[in-house]
């Protein structure tokens, strides 16, 4: 067999601006392709990305050559395999499970959402991305994780600095200085909460990890909390903004969603259409083959779930936002052992609570000018503004 073809034209600038036409072309012409400027092999078909994620023995998460370790000042569970990954993940999984969400948190999420929405000025145009999507996600996460006392601004800033550091593939030392400062602040905040969570055990992730019979080391508890901060704000924020955009630009679908109370389906379609986490990387542990091409040991492959979610083999009109699809086997939450641990929380908070609550309060809200909504991102993607007139 042959090595995958090489693409020398595509780089971060085009991918960050709008990767979807690029992926559409790749799916047709070069579904496995070495992208020279990114130094990774891109895989863009759904069956292949799923196979890679579901085969961790060959495609490892344990890639030492990523900026994640300096950004988080830790070797985190995101970059571990097997039993080590399982132990650290299971340490906090219960806090994110459907039962705990329903029993302990659902009412609180509703109250938080109402609190933020009730402050919005009726009749005016506001940026929901800035005023709702980010802050509500941050506030809810403070409670899930048990980070009592952290402000919305702190949470949003920590999250952004961790993500900027983790995406610092240019290894710019300035960006690591910024993430280092965020780490210092987070560590100090965590230090101050340990006694409280031990004295009054609760179902927050911090408390559950600290009070476990056989707890993981404190350094890994901190790393887990940071992973949850890095992954628990921007993604629900981006998912929410994307779904709102999809519904507001497709009023017929919005009417039908309302009529059928199909908010869950709207959520699934939003994250399929523009997956908040668009791509992931895996290190190839042995010479292998993907889609008929040789992929040598040591190569890093990128599964492009953004593209898998628009694979023509699975979806009709795959580029369109269409809530009412016969099936929607999207990979927005990934698959395999590293499947998003927050998927239940995202479905409950964004899909069942936040979006219906907004449309309930402002039934006739509308996008001031859809063409003014800007989208950005390669690894992470969503609108970066959402000016909506509240009615």
């Amino acid at each position: 067999m042959a090595l995958a073809p090489v693409n020398t034209e595509i780089g971060m600038v085009q991918l960050t601006h709008d990767p979807y036409p690029i992926y559409r072309k790749m799916r047709t012409q070069t579904p496995v392709v070495r992208v020279e400027q990114i130094k990774r092999t891109f895989v863009t078909k759904a069956a292949m990305t799923r196979m890679i994620k579901d085969t961790p023995e060959v495609f490892s998460s344990n890639d030492p050559n990523t900026p994640m370790e300096p950004a988080f000042q830790a070797h985190t569970l995101m970059r571990k395999d097997g039993l080590e990954h399982r132990r650290e993940r299971m340490a906090m999984q219960l806090s994110f499970s459907p039962k705990v969400i329903k029993q302990n948190w659902a009412q609180l999420y509703r109250d938080i959402t109402q609190d933020y929405i009730s402050r919005l000025p009726r009749g005016e145009t506001v940026d929901l991305y800035k005023d709702i999507c980010g802050p509500v996600s941050a506030r809810i996460l403070v409670h899930i994780l048990g980070l009592d006392g952290a402000t919305d601004d702190q949470m949003l800033r920590w999250s952004q600095h961790l993500i900027d550091g983790a995406g610092n593939f240019g290894w710019d030392p300035e960006l690591f200085k910024i993430s280092d400062r965020a780490n210092d602040e987070m560590n100090a905040h965590f230090d101050g909460l340990i006694a409280h969570h031990i004295a009054t055990p609760n179902s927050s992730a911090f408390s559950v990890m600290l009070n476990a019979q056989n707890p993981i080391p404190q350094s890994q508890i901190y790393a887990n909390l940071k992973i949850a901060i890095g992954g628990g704000i921007n993604e629900p924020r981006d998912a929410m903004a994307t779904i709102l955009y999809g519904l507001l630009t497709n009023p017929d679908q919005l009417d039908e969603v309302r009529r059928q109370d199909a908010w869950g389906q709207a959520f699934e379609e939003g994250v399929r259409w523009v997956a908040p986490i668009q791509a992931s990387s895996r290190l190839v542990l042995e010479d292998t083959e993907i889609g008929g091409y040789d992929v040598p040991k040591g190569e890093t492959v990128m599964t492009i779930q953004a593209s898998a979610n628009r694979d023509e083999d699975l979806y009709e009109n795959s580029e369109e936002f269409m809530v009412f699809r016969d099936q929607n086997p999207h990979q927005a939450f990934g698959s395999g052992p590293h499947l998003c641990a927050g998927s239940h929380i995202a479905r409950r908070t964004v899909g069942e609570i936040m979006i219906p609550a907004l449309f309930d309060r402002f039934p006739d809200m509308s996008l001031a000018d859809p063409s003014k909504v800007n989208w950005r991102g390669f690894g992470f993607r969503g609108p970066i503004n959402l000016p909506v007139t509240l009615r």
Partner: protein, 107 residues
């Protein structure tokens, strides 16, 4: 080939055939049996392939394996003594005719 019957929470039953060596989760997915999600692909990292083994089959199927119990605690539906993650039930010739019941919800 081995026959497996899935009984949904509403009582609907679906019987499919599969090969020895497969597992109960994959068999459901490849035959479009509703009620099993299997988000993590069988890595025992989610609880969306939860099933209740029919009492008559409980002994033959056997007990939860190490780590399965912790994961089942994260399941959406109630846990019973016969609860298993269906990805961890490997099909053997002895399981021909196996009946599993599906919970109301997996997510």
């Amino acid at each position: 080939m081995v026959k497996i019957t899935y009984i949904a929470a509403d009582g609907t039953d679906t019987t499919v055939e599969t090969q020895v060596g497969n597992n109960v989760m994959h068999t459901a997915l490849s035959n479009n049996v509703a009620g099993i999600v299997g988000e993590c692909g069988g890595a025992m990292m989610c609880a969306t392939c939860h099933c209740y083994v029919d009492e008559a089959w409980a002994d033959k199927v056997g007990a939860q394996i190490d780590g399965e119990e912790d994961m089942l605690e994260c399941a959406a539906a109630d846990i019973r003594p016969t609860s298993r993650l269906s990805c961890q039930i490997k099909i053997t010739p002895e399981l021909d005719g196996l009946v599993v019941h599906l919970p109301e919800s997996q997510e």
